[in-house]
Symmetry: C2
Subunit: 209 residues, 2 copies
DNA sequence: ACAATACTTCACCCGTGAGTGCAATATCGA
DNA sequence: TCGATATTGCACTCACGGGTGAAGTATTGT
């Protein structure tokens, strides 16, 4: 039903913007162009609405991991590994500090006490799927001999947090997304460190004090 | 005054445990062995009490960064750099996922909308000081020729998030601290990657596939 | 011992926001 | 067009918790 979708849309907007407690059912109804009563005819209570909305957003967020996954399947070779990883790293870092993502994480962390299952679901489905995609990619690259990877999962988490850890943590607490260029430069530096460890030997022999 | 301290103690316990909205002034008073009225005689309102309590906790948390700083001043040489960094990494990773720390971060992130200045203050004073300590350390080690560091600050953030990023993020969302051994192993792996990039050339020439 | 200051008691006000009941009205599918 | 279903309007109830007032009792320092 169209009504339900409108309610969810409004709920998403407001919950992400003002938090759980900071959003009233009346505001949601108003933004959806409906009445509080109608909202309650579609969703049992505030909790149910919130949960439903988060579940849908998580499903949407999963798409991001799938997109990343694609990138590992285009011909990556020893020759282009650095630029390929730069690209993946850039996407990952930029994707993770998007305002909607940060807002969702903040919301879930803030409500983790009240909705532990949702926070966990998010962790498993969003960062979790990203790590899984990266793991599969590095595993593949390891088996192909493009990278010296033995523990693909660990490589994947190192990659992810090298590339995006600091901007994410900062965004989480400050709420401010650093400038794009900074994030990109930071991701590239992360990739360099990553490759220093995992690139084939020839590539890791970097000169200089 | 002793009363004020008792109130702050109770507030700390309850706010960290149940969040801002989840804690009532009466509960705080009760836990402090006082009356709501007395609490209000010492702190203007809930906001003021909350702010004061957070400020004090942040001041306490800063101590952690100072402790880390010490470690960089004990003779670190090319010979013992790995074990030294393992030690620092271990301390950092274990320190950052302590329940009180996670609870504080969750609280601040959850209330970041209502108290943006507090979250920022925390970011600057806790992770910020840790990064600064690490930066100074790596800068020193770079100048001493123990590490190949040119951008000490970037090295410091890479170190921090390599070593503790994933456990922190997980703890933030799941609320669960991974087992000690996992955290330690993870930190060590982070140090290996870090050293692959920043160790003197001789050390970074690792063999294989 | 005696002020002054701190703390207690407790009844209170007040805004807020979740959730409901029900009759009236609109919408929509067949 | 008719009947079912969705939506509205709106007045309510209720619980909760922040914050206050004022008179009385305890502490404390000197």
């Amino acid at each position: 039903m169209r009504t339900r979708a409108a309610v969810i849309d409004a709920a998403r907007t407001l919950f992400l913007r003002h938090g759980y407690a900071g959003t009233t059912m009346e505001e949601i109804a108003a933004l959806a162009g409906l009445t509080k009563r109608t909202v309650y005819n579609n969703y049992a209570d505030k909790d149910a609405l919130f949960t439903q909305m988060v579940v849908e957003v998580i499903a949407f967020a999963e798409q991001f991991a799938n997109d990343l996954r694609e990138e590992f399947m285009v011909g990556i070779t020893t020759a282009n590994i650095r630029v390929a990883l730069d690209d993946v790293g850039r996407r990952l870092a930029l994707g993770i500090v998007r305002p909607e993502v940060v807002a969702l994480r903040r919301l879930l962390i803030g409500e983790a006490r009240a909705f532990p299952a949702l926070a966990r679901e998010y962790f498993d489905r969003a960062p979790g799927q990203v790590i899984e995609a990266l793991t599969d990619g590095f595993d593949y690259l390891g088996r192909e001999g493009v990278l010296r990877v033995t523990d693909a999962q660990r490589a994947a988490t190192q990659f992810a947090y090298l590339v995006a850890g600091e901007p994410l943590d900062r965004a989480m607490l400050i709420g401010t997304t650093p400038p794009k260029e900074y994030i990109i430069a930071n991701a590239q530096e992360g990739v360099r460190t990553f490759l220093a460890r995992y690139a084939r030997v020839k590539d890791s022999r970097r000169r200089r004090t």
